[in-house]
Amino acid sequence: MSTLLLIDDEEGIRKVLSLSLRKDGYQVLAAENGEKGLGAFRQNLPPIVLTDIKMPGIDGIEVLKRVKEIAPDTEVIVITGHGDIELAIQSLQLGASDFITKPVSDEALSIALKRAEQKLEMKRRLKEYTHDLESMVKAATEELRRRYEFEDKLIQSSIDGIVATNEKGSVVIFNEGASRIFGYSRLEAIRRMDIDVLYPTEIAREIKEGLYGKKYGEEHIFRWKGINVKAKDGQEMPVRFSGAILYEKEEVVGSVGFLQDIREIKRLEQELIESERLAAIGQTVAGLAHCVKNILYGLKGGVYVVNTALKSNNPEQLNTGWDMVNRNIGKVSDLVMDLLNYSKEREPDYQRCFLNTIAGEVCDLMELAAQEAGVKIIRNFDQAIGEVTLDPKGIHRCVLNLVSNAIDACRFDLDRKKDCVVEVKTALEDKDTVVIEVSDNGCGMDEEVKNKIFTSFFSTKGGAGTGLGLLVTQKIIKEHGGTITVESEPGKGSTFAIRLPLRENV
């Protein structure tokens, strides 16, 4: 139901028109003069105003002006008197939507109102569409901006270099990764360089052929080729390159290349190895702490025994105590040397020496411990092995470790009736290789233990082992360019075999 404001100074006309309009379904506000009419207008803002022109005080023209000031979209219909064509034209010029002459016929009024309604409807619709359109464009623009920013971030944050060109081969995208590799800034590259400058000749040529040459339209993908690109300062940068031609609906729109800095990869690999090694050493601190505790105990105990012996003047006890101290000082040295050996890179100290002598010395050293454990050491040395070039201290360390482990394996064997034997064997395998084998018939190892012994700080000896022994042994063997292998069966025993390449005088 629309509201309509009717302004006319003649009461009769007001009454008649109001009735007629109400019948048509309007809500009618009536005013007897221009002033009251404007007041009513301001208060109600009706969409349609029907006003007489000739009125005392504020006339219809003035009302029209004011109404249009307040709400320009209001439809104003003026009622003119007979012969007031001038005023009618003026009011049309001022924005009135129509004029009707007195006496007002129902038909004329009806038509004028209809026209006014139509105009209002059209204005409303237009406003709606405009508003909708505006907000849709705003939303789309926002979305576009966000997508663009996101993609830009993606490209920038990639560690790999990303270089994209347009269909002519001119650089349009050049991310931070690419800057790092090439040394050019984005500003220097974008729209200033083309692929000839950046890529090696063959790659640039292939891409160009794909972009606009003979190979236009072909599937064109390079996959992780190792190439060298020239950086700004002339340096050759080794990278892995992967690239493609970009199409949109069968048309070439450009190319993209991904570059992986191999130096970065190599550096990360190095870092990883280093930190793994440090972590492994860290892992062992707990085990070492235990070991060190035991050694300290041995030292303190030894000192205590020495003091007691001095107090009671007991030379035998004094010897015992002093032995304890010495032995444990030895243990500390060994432990520290093991750790130092493991944690740094060493070149073997090659010397001419006799392998069998070294093996013999180890057996001599371990004789006492073997006897105490009820173990027999058997020596099986190949006399054909002459002078060889090795690091004697390193190899001594390795053989000592293996023999000590072998004796421990026997001590830990639950089979009490077994005669435990450790065999140390040297042999010339072929003209280039010498083999040292240490085997025992002790407790042996299962698959799980076998897999762990060379790869982590792992000890089966409870409190007595540091987990370092085999790792150091393995390291020394590797530094010699040799190999170490193990065969083992639970309950039956183990055999460790070291193979070393024979070298000429180094």
């Binding site: 035991n294 105990g301 025994v305 009671s312 304890m324």
Partner: protein, 130 residues
Amino acid sequence: MGKKVLVVDDDADVRTFVTTVVETNGYTPIVATNGEEAMAKVRGDKPDLIVLDVLMPRESGIRMYRELKTDDTLKTIPVVILSGIAKRTFLRSQAALTEFGGQAVPEPAAYLEKPTEPEELAGTIKKILG
């Protein structure tokens, strides 16, 4: 002849240390290097106190402790555990064994964690033997 103390430990240094403490304080030491040897000496020499290590190859101290405490003729002998493992770990292992084995086993007369000061060890032994 003073009271007899049986010292059980696979580590020679520990054995030397403990026997020196024992001797210095007027007791007579007996040594064993593993659980098997120790059980033989317990039955043979009937010591007044046993100083027992836990982490040993062959028969571990844990098993030997249970053997002692479930044998009516031996369970009265006070046992001092001298070990590298923490007391609560030892007690937990006993609790687990009780669950499996059935019989509950009393706590040792004393539990000392290595390394101990000679005075502490001597004091503990004296308190038990008098």
